[in-house]
Amino acid sequence: MIKVLLFAQLQEEAQTDVIEIDFQEGTVTELKKILQSQFDFSQLSESMFAINEAYALEHDVVKSGDTVAVIPPVSGG
């Protein structure tokens, strides 16, 4: 099981800020496909992923117990 945190537009589209997914081990790309099949996200392709609070690349591995954040383009400041 992994916890997926959603922010900004993605949070509004999913109508929740956190979802739990039964996911044992796989890449960010694989997780992204699952998310896209379950939700109608408009910004997923331009979003970054973070695994346990560190930015991750598409081929990085997510394991059960991890917290993954989906990070749409940022706009602080």
């Binding site: 922010f7 331009e46 690349l57 954040a69 749409p72 383009p73 706009s75 602080g76 400041g77």
Partner: protein, 159 residues
Amino acid sequence: MPSNYFEIVEDPIDTKDIIQKVEDRNAGAITTFIGTVREMTGEKRTIYLEYQAYKPMAEKMLEQIGQEINDRWPGTHVAITHRIGSLAIADIAVVIAVSSPNRKPAYEANEYAIERIKQIVPIWKKEQWEDGAAWIGDQLENVSYPTGKPETNGGDHND
């Protein structure tokens, strides 16, 4: 470096508190950047802004920016506080204070800090306009990241 030099807060920011964090007997300069909420963006009138953050990661990224600055401009001290929640016109969203022995690094490092915030710190802004609302994407218009993720290893910022 104490972690409270880099904070995400929900209450109004007192600029003096952030400046005090970087005061130093060997500093010859302190620069302060204050980011405020603007009413008019072109023809659009903002009513208020809503900032949201992934707080633990955002504070880590602010701290990383401080580290990058210490590496590039030795002898500097950096403090950054960003506010989240609902902000009215003219409210302060972010304060960056940099001290250094001489003035030039204080100016340069301060500008570097705000550019890096816009690249790597997970904070989002929802604009509530007179006629609607939208989450604002990347203000640097880097909608996709060329390297596959934000440059978090102190890479060059966009000028």
